[in-house]
């Protein structure tokens, strides 16, 4: 087996941003959160990701502002390091090697150059025991520092970071675990512990879930499993401690947070309501309801101006202190299982999969941003355990992205299966999918596979759905029956069956001229225009799991895998078996842009990947143990910019990327060395001006301005374009006496288009070409802005020339 050193599996996009509490910078402009193996810096105003602090090789488990320097941030990871970053510039300042996996990190002002980390107890690896350890960070100028000066503070703590908190600027430390709370005073080196009974008389569960300490008073707030919040006071006495109970949440309180002045207490839970309690006036509380999903973390910015809540659907909501939502940062929503599989929207190139309950999400992998949710079920989701609700189980796009087919089902215990097939058409005007046809009960049993005919040029699209009831049905867009106000709708065109066997998979050939349907052990090939059975392909016994037609030059091949660990390749011209090999393929997929096919094989608890061409005997690429566990879904996504890799092993990644989803719901992909270097370079390139909130658009703008300024310094101030009388008139006449903007627009734009011969502008051009290429579309957006108002142009008119020239 050849080692392909330059290709590795990485987390890229779609990682959890709600894994740990986010951190808001001192000036409330940035929000930092752990996301996979990196720390993401978001702008709290524009919701854009400004930086990605890469460097950790394990999952990042905590982010913490450095108490002595508010422009620096610590991050810890399971790779056993604590790293110090300058987050405004995105620079790694120092790496402290601890040597043990770190699960959370704390620090306080009272303890200079000491961080507290939670690590597993070393003596026994099996038991889930954790301890809180103080780490002295050595003050050396080196980049890589060994931090071996550890001292245990508390044993038997929980690995959940919200169960430990520092009180009163680090005077004491409070930790909860299960039914026990421990408060440790640093000065006296003494700890007090309090325990509760497991159940109250009314049946409430007393287990501690989270803790927060009041910043000024000796008051500790704890959240409990039954939704109660207890405010503990007077805990310096073993016996005379006292607590008051606040009860609003109906189930477990997941996060608690005091505001910096200690005037309010924020709490959140599964109700997805942020509750704001007045400290010492607990009867008065404010609510921010309908936040969308269960709250997992609540944080407050150090100046108290912003709150942020993390939600279970991988979302961070930024809330102003007047309890108003100001921004939402949405990551990839990962439900409990992805039943639709991974799809790529041909139009937007976005990844499409199950999102919120009853929704499909469209996720842009390039920008690592959720584009939108499409409500498929169109029923209110009820948060109640044990309630069966409609779920989207299948989805398919046609080749042009004009049609989307979805299947939703609900299985109630005592009732029959409810199935709905919905067809959605893309509406150019609203730029979204509009429901065209709903077919209730399209089949009598669960639908096993669904696909559109692939040919993009064909006039009529066909949808084929296969079901457990032994039939496959072809659906076609028919003409409106008699009413002419309604558009065309979908109806069933053909019902096919083969000896009462259950079809498991179906596949159209690339040109749409053939349909292959796998009926248990038999592969049947149909003609989709006449619906006649062309041939059946024999196969060694075993149910067909996957079927794929080859692409491009290999389109004469049909590949199939079965559950008896066989992969077969038929030549459709000869209708004979071309080759077969013994592999336990769990997933077989084809890249629509090349001849390549990928096969994921499950072996010994891990998954191997083979990339091959059906016509060639040797695989292009293979990697053992891509990830542990099974790969459930995978997809080839087309690249926007082709890679120019010459190496044979990584050529298959040139046109498209392979994303796959493991059974632990991690979205992984393959990355080449060249690609990573390019990414690193681009992130270093971004030098940021502090004064404006950073968005990619701003970065671009700022860069231009910066270079422009630099130029002006070096050369003599370039003469401004000869301002025409029209411009002068435009810019100096008051707005209310001007004619309509649309009237002036073309004239104005023409007047801005000055001759290209001016040499001074060419030097700007050459330096900014790369930037312009990357965000071409953005410029178009900018242009439209230009025309929308004259006064905007005035302020940015120097800048606006260049893109216009490129366009022309």
């Amino acid at each position: 087996m050849v080692e392909y050193g330059d290709i590795r599996v990485v987390y890229r996009g779609g990682s959890k941003i709600n894994f740990r509490k986010p951190v808001i910078s001192n000036d409330s402009r940035f929000l930092l959160c752990a996301s996979g193996e990196s720390v993401k810096v978001f702008s709290s105003v524009t919701e854009e990701c400004v930086h990605e602090l890469r460097g950790h090789t394990g999952q990042v488990t905590g982010v913490l502002l450095r108490p002595s320097n508010h422009l620096q941030v610590y991050s810890c990871s399971t790779d056993g390091t604590v790293r110090l970053w300058d987050f405004t510039d995105g620079i790694l300042v120092r790496t402290y090697v601890v040597g043990y996996p770190v699960y959370s990190i704390y620090a306080s002002l009272n303890h200079k150059e000491v961080v507290f980390i939670v690590t597993p107890v070393q003596s026994d690896k099996r038991t889930e025991l954790f301890q809180l350890v103080a780490v002295n960070l050595p003050q050396t100028p080196d980049q890589l520092v060994e931090a071996r000066d550890l001292s245990a503070v508390l044993s038997d703590v929980s690995s959940n970071p919200s169960t430990i908190a520092f009180g009163r600027g680090g005077e004491y430390l409070a930790s909860v675990n299960n039914l026990k709370m421990e408060i440790y005073f640093f000065k006296k080196n003494k700890s007090y512990s309090f325990s509760l009974r497991e159940y109250t008389k009314n049946g409430g569960k007393n287990t501690f879930t989270c803790i927060a300490c009041h910043p000024k008073d000796d008051c500790v707030a704890t959240g409990h499993d039954d939704g109660k919040i207890r405010l503990w006071r007077n805990f310096k006495q073993k016996k005379e401690y006292t607590y008051s109970t606040l009860h609003w949440h109906h189930s477990a309180v997941s996060s608690l947070c005091f505001t910096p002045e200690g005037t309010n207490l924020l709490s959140g839970g599964v109700e997805s309501v942020l509750v704001q309690w007045r400290y010492n006036q607990e009867n008065q509380k404010d609510f921010l309801p309908r936040l969308g999903a269960a709250i997992t973390h609540v944080t407050v910015s150090p100046d108290g101006a912003l709150f942020s809540t993390s939600h279970s659907d991988n979302k961070i909501t930024i809330i102003q202190s007047c309890v108003k939502v100001s921004a939402v940062i949405q990551g990839l929503v990962k439900g409990e299982n992805v039943t639709t599989g991974l799809l790529v929207d041909p139009r937007s190139k976005a990844l499409v999969l199950n999102g919120r309950p009853g929704h499909l999400q469209f996720y842009s992998l390039q920008r690592d941003k959720l584009l939108f949710h499409l409500d498929i079920v169109q029923q209110e989701y009820i948060h109640e355990a044990g309630l069966e609700q409609f779920e989207v189980v299948r989805a398919a796009f046609d080749a042009s992205g004009l049609w989307l087919a979805t299947v939703e089902e609900r299985k109630q215990k005592s009732a029959e299966l409810e199935l709905n097939l919905k067809l959605w058409s893309f509406d150019e005007q609203t730029q979204s999918f509009v429901l065209n046809t709903t077919v209730s009960a399209p089949h009598e049993a669960r639908i096993t596979a669904m696909c559109f005919s692939q040919a993009a040029d064909s006039q009529t699209t066909t949808l084929v759905s296969a079901s457990r009831d032994g039939h496959f049905k072809a659906w076609q867009l028919g003409l409106p029956a008699h009413t002419d106000d309604e558009g065309p709708s979908w109806s069933c065109d053909f019902v096919g069956a083969y000896h009462g066997l259950v079809p498991r998979c179906c596949c159209f050939s690339a040109d749409g001229s053939l349909l292959a349907v796998g009926f248990q052990e038999v592969v049947t090939v149909w003609n989709p225009t006449s619906w006649e059975l062309l041939t059946t392909l024999s196969q060694p016994p075993g149910d067909v799991r996957n079927l794929c037609f080859g692409q491009l030059s290999c389109s004469k091949y049909l590949l199939g895998s079965n559950n008896k660990k066989m992969v077969c390749c038929w030549n459709l011209l000869t209708c004979s078996l071309e080759w077969s090999t013994s592999m336990d393929v769990s997933l077989l997929l084809v890249d629509s842009r090349s001849e390549n096919m990928a096969a994921f094989c499950c072996q010994d608890g891990s998954t191997d990947l083979f990339v091959f061409k059906p016509s060639e005997p040797r695989p292009l690429f293979s990697q053992k143990a891509v990830c542990s566990g099974r790969v459930i879904h995978a997809v080839f996504t087309p690249r926007e910019v082709m890679l120019e890799s010459s190496e044979e092993s990584s050529q298959w990644l040139n046109r498209s990327q392979l994303y796959f989803l493991t059974e632990f719901m991690d979205l992984l992909t393959f990355s080449t060395k060249a690609e990573e270097e390019k990414l690193m370079a681009s992130s270093k390139q971004l030098v940021i001006d502090d004064t404006v909130a950073m968005t990619p658009f701003y970065l671009l703008l700022g860069k231009h301005r910066h270079e422009h300024l630099g130029n002006e310094e070096s050369a003599e101030r370039t003469p401004l374009p000869q301002s025409s009388v029209a411009i002068k008139e435009l810019l100096q006449t008051p707005a209310h006496v001007l004619p309509a903007t649309s009237f002036l627009c073309s004239m104005f734009a023409k007047s801005l288009l000055i001759s290209v011969t001016e040499t001074s502008h060419h030097c700007f051009l050459s330096s900014s070409v790369s930037v312009v290429q990357i965000s071409h579309s953005l410029y178009r957006g900018a242009l439209s802005l230009t025309f929308s108002g004259v006064f905007w142009c005035k302020s940015y008119k120097e800048f606006k020339f260049y893109p216009l020239k490129i366009a022309s």
């Binding site: 005077e171 005073f185 000796d218 006071r233 401690y241 006292t242 008051s244 006036q281």
Partner: protein, 681 residues
Amino acid sequence: MGEFKVHRIRFFNHMPSAIRVMAFNSHTERLVVARADGAVEIFNFADNYYQEKVIPGRDGKAVEALCWVGRRLFSAGLDGEITEYDLENLRPRNSMEAYGGPIWTISSNSQGTLLAAGCEDGTVKMFEVLEDRIQFQRNLSRQKGRIISLSWHPTGSQIAAGMLDMIKIFDAETGHATHRLLVERGLQRTSNSQEVVVWSVAFLSDHTIISGDSAGKVQIWDGITGTLVRTHLLTKWDVLVLAVSPDESSVIAGTSEGTVVQFQFISSTVDQQDKQWVRTRTFKSHSHDVRALVHTDTAVVSGGVDTQLVVRPLLDKVEKNTQESAMRKIIFPHRNLVSCAKKAGLLLFQFSDHLELWRLGESDGNGETRAHTRLTSNLRVGRFGEDNICCSALSPCGGWLAYATVSSVRLYRLQLDNNITPLVPLSRLQVSKLPKELNSVHQLSFSSDSSKLFASSILSSVIVASVKELECKYLHTFKPPSGEQPVHLLSPSEDGNWLATANTGGEIHVFDLHCSVPVCGSCPTAVSIHPFSCSLVSVHADQQIFEFSLKQKEFTAWSRKLQKQGMHPLWLQRDAPITRVTFNPNNPTHILLHDTSMFCIVDQILPLPEEKTRFYNQSVLQSLSLGERLRNSHAFKVYRNFQNLLCVDLMEDHSLVVVERPLLDIVSQLPAPVQQKKFAT
């Protein structure tokens, strides 16, 4: 072990009265509770919360305030009188008209020399407490509007009065008002025009004033400057009562929602000294208004409209997981309200204003423990006068009925038609001439042959009178050698030779023998003389059982063994006292005991329970295998099938009469509680 035919009776409509006000005397550890019907009950907290004394009330006399002055007890009500009680003879000693209209509150200073009364006409009247009476001293300066609540500063120099919309602070020396604290009207409820009533004030020694008002606020004021320090909004409804702990570190407030909220005086940070009042715990032990609160050193005692007295120990003050840390609810009186005529099969139910007489029907004896009781006739005896009934008795033959109020005793001759159809109503004849010695009586009892009437009277004496053919003749007065406490238990022996009496001082005397049983520390809650072995069985408030042989004049061997081994912890943890001891004539070794939650047959032959053994319910025990059953059987056989028992007695035909009073029936008769939203934001 014995099977009984059971008359299960649930038609005794006993309805406890709502608790109006309470006062606690920390020296004697006595809690006094006044109920809405005017009855005053005294509980001994040192003796397992036993209800020692009950002074019945009278019509039209509602007690609005109670106050201990030393060992003396004063009460005041809306009739405008201040009453002092005679706690030895269980009757009001004297009453004094205050001439200020209805009295809302009384309060004594800590020295016990002055009693202040807040009146409807806006005056605070000061009374001097003299040896035998109280004497009006003077009025503090008269205000507009009624005085609802009063609180003395511990030094006695100032007094705070809660009124409508304001609190006034008076100088006790000069009688002038020094401060006027205006209380904000309710913001949430109804309009601003409604006056806010300051239901309760507390004046602490650091000159902090805490007030609870009808707008649902607890406010903390600085009494020196007269400024508001802090407002805690507790409820949409009223804060009705406040109570301060003896060390002034904690204040509790009772609300209309049935909650009790605790405030504690704690420092905000550990090392600093500046303390503030912080709302801490909330107790919800009532369904209705909490009208009365007492904060003892270790517990919160609350009572209200739902008639229950709840003792909730504060867990930071008592040892955890001990008997002391268990919450107690006292619902039923600790004395018998039901008398049975064993021979005639009649039952007498005592209410506060009337008596009901029922005849037991034929039970369909099908071997089950449950059988129907069909009422065949009932007789209602209305009382005379305004005083409530304090005790009643029915003779075993069913021929005589006696009851007593504070001021008088009445005796009736019942004429039974045994042989004719049972539907003929009973007739009664009043015995008009009673000996004049029978005028103040706490307890009544008939001898087993129904020829004698025993009545406990003043100075713990017992009067014996013979009753025969519409005649009642005074025979004798037994005077115990010692003791001034009232006799609360009378138990004549079956053969008529002996009479056992017990008084609230804890002494048991057996007359005709003139023997005193050695005093044990706790008050007896039930005594009875065994019909055959002539031994006296007494059960005490601390749940101890003694058996005293009257022949040998010493504790029997069984009793000594029981004391030596000690009572079983589960037995000691029960919180209701045993109120009746009876014997099974068929099985002389069996003693039948009952409290409100269970009844128990103590078999003196079987071994005593070990420390670890459990008290199985007998129905559970019967479902076990034989070996298991033998292993778990011991002297204490507990039946929990019947709940909320008011009486368990064995009739002459060996059928068991069980009188139950289900709690749901009591709850359904309570007024509707205040409306509360369960889930609301």
